[in-house]
């Protein structure tokens, strides 16, 4: 019976979709970070589900989860660093108003 695995993965997919929508549709830098956090959280669920249901003996999977969690924290730290810098110089963290960052 693989229902557990499918449920976990489906939920991860749903979170991924929501996160993707959010990070594309939001204009605010901090809200975009939130979308990315959701995408990363979906990845976390996948990692844990694969570890639990497919390879419970490979503990390295858990290590990768730890690293993803750390990446989430760093992503926030860096994102906020940029947000503060932009807010300081432009008074806005709206992506619409970040034209000079465009390629």
């Amino acid at each position: 019976m693989e229902l557990e695995l499918l449920v976990a993965l489906t939920i991860a997919a749903a979170l991924f979709g929501v996160g993707l929508y959010g990070s594309l549709s939001q204009t605010n830098l901090v809200m975009i970070i939130m979308g990315v956090e959701l995408i990363l959280a979906a990845a976390l669920i996948n990692m844990v589900a694969f570890w639990r249901y497919l390879h419970p003996d490979v503990i390295a999977a858990q290590m990768f989860v730890l690293i993803i969690m750390a990446v989430m924290a760093v992503e926030m730290a860096v994102g906020f660093g940029i947000a503060i810098a932009r807010f300081r110089s432009r008074g806005s963290v709206e992506m619409e108003e970040a034209r000079e960052l465009r390629g």
């Binding site: 204009t27 503060i84 807010f87 300081r88 432009r90 008074g91 806005s92 963290v93 709206e94 619409e96 108003e97 034209r99």
Partner: protein
């Protein structure tokens, strides 16, 4: 019981009512400092003091309140949860709309009797089948609508902004204050719990509102058209523009501050293509990126033209627009048709073509910082018309010292704030948790010295003493000295010494009271308890009693001098320079050798020498007051008697008199004119008046707790302020 809660008193409720009668949480008006000065010990009466009226069940009036404090008292009462009781001690009237459940005498015994009675009343009447709604004029609020982008647009009904077409958002303001919500601070609720939204996280623009109370609107084409309200010009139909630059505008930096644009406008000729904020009179290179500055054409001609913050995005949309949806003002079209949002027919917008020409001819848009970015941003791909630019929102907002543009919150502190002297109101604009702006006002300021014209000397002395409940003896002494100097009378030196001893005793009590306040403010419970107890005993102590208290005082002082954490908390806050117009402990703590006592023969006879400190910060003021407590103890020990100053028999003397007394807060000066034994003119200068002006300087950019400690360290007595 008037403030009963709805419900039948039965069974379980009876039990609860009994508990409430035993659990009295008191909010004291006008303040705990006044209670101590009047010798009332609330803790000894088994009361629990609360820090906000929200947590209180009993509102305790210590005497009748000055007129300006009454509204605040009503608001405090309204904030209390039912069942709520009012205890009134002393003579006089309650504010309109409030009714006392118990009235007692203004003394410790009176308080205890009143509480006994109150216990019975609460246990029987905490719940009532019928309760009255409580309402008072001070509580009225009304809703008005304002544009989030154009705070000067205020309307009584919902609608769209005449400038940008956005929906107006509602906000709540207190009634009776019209469009100047904060211009009358006494209307402000006492404690923020129920304060109007500007004390909250909302981006409320009420701080701008007092400007528009006086702001005029005029037509850019027809300067003779002037209106009090925004609208359109009766001659050409253009939107009226606000005329700024009036005196009232000062201090409202928030208000789309264009000073930088206008000054740039007048002089600017060269600007950096990358940094539009860089403007120069001369060609050269940009200090930021080193690029050559480009000339900006057509600048100088428009000098002085009134530039309104007409958001270019809307402006540029408008200029091209001829048809718009009545429901969705953001929908604009060059052609007639139907609205893509609601399908309604688009209406023609009249006068737009004219608008276009004039609007731009007058305005210097390219010198406008950041304008380029959002002007063209509006036409960039992917930006939807209703998109609200944050650059526009944040533009012109004040910048914190750390360079971040943050939301300012207006928070009223006082007049019943636990960490401040009762009756002192501070309206602070907080930038995060540091103070950006502060305006202080006293709600208990004394009235006229001679309210009923010529006053007999005895009555004058009493009046002066009553005017300052925190240090009545010093003012009594001041009045007596001035009267005697006017009547050219000499006082026996033993009497003078005894009076000086009384003043010194009050100085000790007052400084101890300040220590108790400091303890309350900093959460130093031990200090608060010990200083309160000492103050209450020493206020009425006789010579022997004071001598007996000496060791206790000395041990408290020694304990405080050893407290590193207290020094750490105080040092560096509220720094005042030597040169400021200060007096009293505040001046002496910054090293100023200024003491009215040093010229006084009585004090010289007692061997007085001015004690000064150094540092000029709150820690130095603490040291100074501790040293002065010691000094006063020594002076009292040298004086042989202690008696309250009583006015001598003046008879029918006439003349002018002047006296200076070093009150616990600094030198107070009184001049008066005696005519046939009656006081006909009097003028007083109090130390608090000078110290009040320091508040702004010492709280600037300080963290909120530090700012309050800095204000507290001045030992202000709002009662000494003159209106």
């Amino acid at each position: 019981m008037i403030g009963a809660r709805q419900g039948a008193l039965s069974g379980f409720r009876r039990l609860i009512a009994g508990a409430m009668a035993r659990d009295l949480c008191v909010f004291a008006l006008p303040g705990i400092d006044v209670a101590r000065a009047r010798g009332i010990d609330l803790r000894a009466a088994n009361l629990r003091l609360t820090i906000t009226p929200r947590h209180a069940s009993v509102l305790l009036f210590l005497g009748s309140l000055p007129k300006r404090l009454e509204d605040a008292a009503v608001v405090a009462y309204a904030q209390m949860p039912r069942p709520r009781a009012i205890v009134f001690l002393g003579a006089g009237d309650l504010p309109d709309g409030l009714h006392a459940d118990v009235i007692g005498e203004l003394s410790q015994a009176g308080l205890i009797n009143a509480l006994d009675e109150l216990t019975k009343i609460i246990s029987e009447g905490a719940f009532a089948a019928q309760v009255q709604e409580f309402d008072a004029p001070a509580l009225q609020t009304r809703i008005e609508y304002t544009c989030p982008m154009h705070p000067e647009v205020v309307s009584d009904h919902e609608g769209n902004c005449p400038k940008c077409g956005m929906n107006l958002v509602p906000r709540e303001i207190s009634a009776g204050t019209a469009h100047a919500a904060h211009a009358t601070p006494e209307q402000e609720p006492a404690m923020p719990p129920k304060s109007p939204p500007q004390a909250t996280a909302n981006h409320d623009h009420s701080k701008h509102t007092s400007a528009e109370a006086t702001a005029k609107y005029t037509c850019p084409m027809h300067p003779e058209v002037v209106s009090d309200e925004p609208g359109s010009c009766p001659k050409c139909g253009m939107f009226l523009e606000e005329v700024k630059g009036e005196a009232d505008h000062e201090g409202h930096d928030h208000h789309h501050d264009h000073s930088k644009h206008t000054s740039a406008e007048a002089a600017a000729k060269y600007t950096c293509p990358m940094h539009p904020e860089v403007v120069s009179d001369e060609p050269g290179s940009c200090p930021k990126c080193g690029m050559f500055l480009e000339e900006v054409k057509g600048e100088a001609e428009h000098e002085g033209h009134e530039h309104h913050h007409d958001h270019s995005k809307h402006a540029s949309a408008e200029t091209a627009a001829k048809y718009t949806c009545p429901m969705h003002p953001e929908v604009v079209s060059d052609e007639p048709g139907s609205c893509p949002k609601c399908g309604m027919f688009l209406e023609e917008v009249k006068g737009e073509a004219k608008h276009e020409g004039h609007d731009h001819s007058g305005n210097d848009h390219s010198a406008h910082q950041g304008h380029d970015a959002h002007a063209s941003g509006a036409s960039a791909d992917g930006i939807e018309p209703q998109f609200m630019s944050m650059i526009e929102l944040t533009e012109g907002q004040p910048v914190s010292p750390d360079g971040l543009i943050m939301e300012w919150i207006d928070v009223p502190f006082g007049p019943f704030f636990p960490g401040l002297p009762g009756g002192l109101g501070l309206d602070m604009s907080l930038d995060g948790d540091s103070v950006a702006k502060v305006s202080a006002h006293s709600l208990v300021s004394a009235g006229e010295l001679l309210a009923e014209g010529a006053t007999p000397p005895e009555k004058f002395v009493e009046r002066l003493a009553a005017m300052s409940p925190l240090s009545p003896v010093s003012y009594r002494q001041l009045a007596c000295l001035a009267l005697e100097s006017a009547a050219k009378q000499e006082v026996a030196s033993s009497d003078a010494t005894a009076r000086a001893a009384a003043v010194e005793r009050e100085r000790i009590a007052s400084h101890l009271g300040w220590l108790a306040n400091l303890g309350a403010q900093t959460g130093f419970a031990m200090l608060e308890r010990r200083a309160t107890n000492l103050e209450l005993t020493i206020r009425d102590a006789n010579m022997d009693h004071i001598a007996a208290l000496d060791p206790e005082i000395a041990s408290l002082l020694a304990r405080l001098r050893k407290s590193h954490m207290l020094r750490d908390k105080l040092s560096g806050t509220g720094h005042i320079d030597h040169c400021s117009a200060t007096s009293g402990p505040v001046a002496r703590a910054s090293g100023k050798d200024d003491d009215a006592r040093s010229d006084d023969a009585t004090y010289i006879g007692l061997g007085f020498a001015t004690v000064t400190g150094s540092g000029g910060d709150a820690a130095a003021r603490l040291e100074q007051r501790l040293a002065e407590i010691e000094q006063s103890c020594e002076l009292i020990a040298k004086a042989e008697h202690l008696s309250l100053p009583e006015p001598a028999k003046i008879g029918a003397a006439s003349g002018e008199g002047e006296a200076v007394v070093e009150t616990p807060r600094g030198a107070a000066r009184l001049t008066l004119t005696l005519t046939d034994g009656m006081v006909t003119a009097a003028d007083i200068g109090t130390p608090t008046a000078a110290h009040f002006t320091l508040i702004e300087a010492i709280t600037q950019h300080a963290e909120i707790a530090d700012a309050l400690i800095a204000v507290g360290s001045l030992d202000l007595s709002p009662w000494e302020m003159r209106p």
